[in-house]
Amino acid sequence: MKGAAKVVLIIACLQALFADCLAGERAIVLSRAGEYHVMATADGPLEKGEWALWPPIRHDPQSVRTGGRLEVLHEPSRDHILGTDDRGRDVASRLLHGARLSLMLAILCAALASALGMLVALLSLLRAELDLLVRTGCDVLAALPVLLVVLIVRGLLGSESLLSLVLLISVPRAASSARLARDAMQEALAMPFCEAARAIGCSRARLLLQHALPQSFSQMRVAAALTASTAVLSEVALSFLGLGVRGPSWGELLSQAHHNQLAYWLLWPAGVSCALLAWSFGRVAE
C-alpha cells in the first residue's frame, strides 16, 4: 500500500510539473524553417518538411471552443477524452492543470507549517516563561477547523491570493506540528546523549539546535504529510464553495458537477484524483 501511495505521489508530481506538455494547445517541439522551437504556438497549418510534437491532450484548460465550435457539457468522446464542462472547456486538460494547484498548495503548506512548527517548538523550549503560553496557544489553534478559519479570515481581509490561502491553512497546522516537535525535542532532552552534551558545557540553544532538533525530524515528516493531505482537501472544499484561487482546480470541477445534475464525467475524475492524492499523503504519513 505504501509503495502504491509513493507511485501516486510521483505520478502527481510529474503531472503537475509537465502539465503544459501533457495538455495544451502549444507544440512541445516545433520544427519550422529549419529552426526548433520549444512550447511554441503553430500559427497556420504545417507545411512540407515542418513537423511538431504535440501534447497528448490538444486542448488548453482555458479554451472554450474546439475547432471554432462551442461544445458545452459534452460526454467523453474522441475529441475530449473526459468530456467538456459547462463552458465548453476540456475536463482532462483542467484535471491535469488542477493537479498543479493542489500539489503546489500541499508542498507550500507542508513546508511552511513544518518550519513554523519547529520554530515555535524551539522558542517554547528555549524560554521556560513562554512554554505555557505557547502550549495553550497551540492547543487552541490546533483545534480550529481549517475550512472555518480560512473562510472567516479571508472574508475579513477580503483577500483571494494564493499566499493568504497558504498562510491560513499553514497556521493551524503549524500549531499541531509545534506540539509534536516540542514533545519529541523534550523527550530527546531527557536522553543520555543530551545529558552528556549538557555536562560538557553545551549551551541551551546549541543543545536544542544541534542535538534535540534532529530527533524531531521523523515526527515532523509525519506532520508535514498530514498537512499536505489537509491542504489538498481544504483547497478542494474552498474551490467547491467558490472561494478558492482562480484557475483550474479539482474543487471547481466538483462544483460544476453539482450544478449540472452530477454529470459523471465531471464528478468522478476530480473526486478520484483528489481522494487518491490525499490518501497517498495519509499513507506516507502512516
Binding site: 472555518l148 481581509l157 481522494a275
Partner: protein, 320 residues
C-alpha cells in the same frame, strides 16, 4: 456547590472566548487594506467597486450614511463588550441584527444537525471499534481500517454528491428522500454523510484504546468471573475507552460546524453554513464575526460539558 462552580467557570470561559474572538476579528478588519465603511457599502450593495460613473460627492454621501448606519470605523473593544451581551451588530448585507439571524430557524437546524452527527459519530465509532477490536488480526479489522483511511481522504463535497447519486437518484438504491421539503427523513442523509469522517476518527482512537484496555487485569478478572463477551466489550471496555474518546468531542463539533458549509450547499439546505458562505462571498463582516464568536463559545461550552461528564463517569478524575 462544585457543580455550580464548574458551570460558572464554563460560562466565564465561553464569554471570554466571545470577547477575544470579537476583539481580534474587529482589530484584524481595521488593519486590513481598504476602509471598513467602503467594504460595508459594497456588501450592502450601495456602492459598486470601481464604478467610474459615480461622482465623488455621491460616493462620500453614501460612505457617511454607511458609517452612521453601521457605527464605523469600529472600536474593537466596544464591539467585543457588546458581543458579550450577544449583540454582534447589524448585518452589512441587509441591516438585520446578526444575533437574531444566527439564532433563527436555519441557524438552529445547523446546530441540531451537527449535534446529531456528533452523537451518531461517537456511538457508531465506538460500536465499530468494539466490534473490530475483538478480531484484531481478522479481515473485519483490516477492512474497517481501510475504510476509515479512505473516509479520511475523500473530499467531503464528493462524498456528499456520491451519496446523493447512489441513495437518492440511483435507480437500484433510491432509498432516501433528501432536501428541505423531505422533513425529518430528509435530514437523515446529510447527518449520515457529516458523521462519516468523525466516526472514522473516533474508531481510530477508540480501537487503539480498547486494545490496550482489553489486556488490563480487571478485564481478565471479569472474564474469569463469567461476564459475557458482549458485556465485557460493549459495557466494561467501551466505558473505560469513552474517557479517552470523549475529549475529542469539542474538536469534532468544530469540524462538523465547518462541514455544514459544504453539506448545506450540496443538499440545498438552509442553515448557518449556507449563511456563512454567503457572508464570505459578499464580505458581510459582522455575520462572519458573530458566527466565529458563537462557534468558539459553543466549542468551549462543549469542552466544559465533556469535562463535567467525564468527572461523573470516572471516579479517578473526580478524586483528582
Amino acid at each position: 456547590m462544585s457543580l455550580l462552580l464548574a458551570l460558572g467557570r464554563a460560562a466565564g470561559r465561553a464569554w471570554l472566548a466571545i470577547f477575544v474572538v470579537t476583539w481580534l476579528s474587529w482589530s484584524l478588519l481595521e488593519c486590513a487594506p481598504g476602509k471598513s465603511s467602503e467594504r460595508a457599502a459594497v456588501a450592502s450593495r450601495s456602492l459598486i467597486p470601481g464604478d467610474i460613473r459615480m461622482s465623488a460627492a455621491l460616493k462620500e454621501r453614501i460612505l457617511v450614511r454607511t458609517r452612521a448606519e453601521f457605527d464605523l470605523p469600529a472600536r474593537p473593544a466596544a464591539r467585543a463588550l457588546d458581543a458579550m451581551r450577544l449583540d454582534f451588530g447589524l448585518s452589512w448585507r441587509d441591516a438585520t441584527p446578526v444575533s437574531s439571524e444566527l439564532a433563527s430557524g436555519p441557524g438552529l437546524s445547523t446546530v441540531a444537525r451537527s449535534l446529531a452527527a456528533l452523537v451518531l459519530a461517537l456511538l457508531g465509532g465506538m460500536w465499530a471499534a468494539a466490534y473490530s477490536s475483538q478480531h484484531v488480526r481478522g479481515r473485519r479489522h483490516k477492512a474497517l481500517s481501510l475504510l476509515t483511511s479512505l473516509c479520511l481522504s475523500v473530499p467531503l463535497p464528493w462524498l456528499a454528491m456520491l451519496a446523493i447519486d447512489a441513495l437518492v437518484y440511483g435507480k437500484p438504491l433510491a432509498l432516501m428522500p433528501s432536501g428541505p421539503d423531505s422533513g425529518v427523513l430528509g435530514m437523515l442523509l446529510p447527518v449520515l454523510v457529516m458523521a462519516l469522517v468523525p466516526a472514522a476518527v473516533v474508531w481510530g482512537h477508540a480501537s487503539k484504546a480498547m486494545q490496550v484496555i482489553a489486556q488490563q487485569p480487571w478485564v481478565v478478572a471479569s472474564r474469569a468471573k463469567g461476564t459475557s463477551e458482549w458485556r465485557v466489550w460493549h459495557i466494561l471496555i467501551a466505558r473505560s475507552a469513552a474517557s479517552q474518546v470523549l475529549p475529542l468531542a469539542p474538536v469534532l463539533l468544530a469540524y462538523l460546524l465547518s462541514a455544514s458549509l459544504i453539506i448545506e450547499r450540496v443538499f440545498a439546505l438552509e442553515g448557518a453554513g449556507a449563511m456563512l458562505a454567503r457572508a464570505a462571498e459578499v464580505g458581510d463582516v459582522p455575520l462572519l464575526i458573530g458566527f466565529a464568536g458563537l462557534s468558539v463559545a459553543g466549542i468551549s461550552l462543549a469542552s466544559s460539558a465533556v469535562e463535567l461528564f467525564l468527572r461523573a463517569l470516572d471516579p479517578r478524575r473526580r478524586e483528582s
